[in-house]
Amino acid sequence: MIQVLFFAQLRELLDCDSIELPAQAVHVAGDLVPVLVTARPHWAEVLQSKPWLVSVNQTMAKSTTGVNDGDEVALFPPVTGG
């Protein structure tokens, strides 16, 4: 399984902290949004409204970054700390 976490505005819009996805559907970070939309069609509008950032195992990822079984993945808006 792949653990998917949501943060900040995205967490609020989906009203969800995290979900699990079967590992076989997700090969790279760019697969996440389409797989999530298939799993939760009512999230389509929010997930496709902006290019959310993705991290894989707590490191910023590109859409081509590989995702493996057991990984922790997160989706979130651009960061605004400091």
């Binding site: 976490l5 943060f7 900040a8 505005q9 609020e12 991290s55 707590q58 490191t59 910023m60 922790e72 997160a74 979130f76 808006p77 651009p78 960061v79 605004t80 700390g81 400091g82």
Partner: protein, 161 residues
């Protein structure tokens, strides 16, 4: 939630306030009073007179935050010759005027201390997983990322800062 990189470095994410005086003392001791220290402190601003920010709520991604800050410290050390680095960032709900973040660098030379402290703040703003929500009288709003913050990091990457 404390992590050390080089023994001289301190990266800390915390709910409580921090003491600039204590961190200044720690940095000078860790670095052996090497010549130049630059400190940056960011505080919560009211922003607007008509609909002022009353408080700021800082969310973060705990498992990732210190990891990402430590990688910025490693990158700063690869660019400049630095004696000690401190990054402290608060999370949770902060009132106007409260301290949010401290970045401090000690180096033998002032140019390197200034450049590396600015680099750490610029990259922290666009790469460390913190999110700000403003609580104003009229409601609560997530802060939007600023394009000039991304531009600043692009300039560092291209060697133009």
């Amino acid at each position: 939630m404390m992590e050390r990189d080089a023994l001289q470095d301190l990266v800390q994410v915390q709910r409580d306030d921090f003491s600039v005086a204590e961190h200044y003392q720690r940095l000078q001791q860790a670095a052996g009073n090497t010549g130049a220290v630059v400190f940056f402190v960011g505080t919560v601003r009211a922003e607007s007179e008509t609909d002022p920010v009353l408080a700021l709520e800082l969310e973060h991604y705990p498992a990732m935050t210190e990891k990402s800050l430590r990688s910025l410290v490693v990158e700063a050390r690869s660019r400049w010759s630095l004696d000690a680095i401190t990054i402290v960032h608060r999370v949770g709900k902060l009132a106007v005027g409260q301290q949010i973040v401290l970045v401090a660098v000690s180096s033998r030379h002032r140019d390197e201390a200034f450049l590396s402290a600015r680099f750490l703040m610029d990259t922290l703003k666009t790469q460390a997983p913190f999110w700000k929500k403003e609580h104003r009288r009229s409601g609560a709003y997530w802060v939007a990322a600023r394009e000039q913050d991304d531009a600043a990091v692009a300039e560092w990457r291209q060697g133009n800062r």
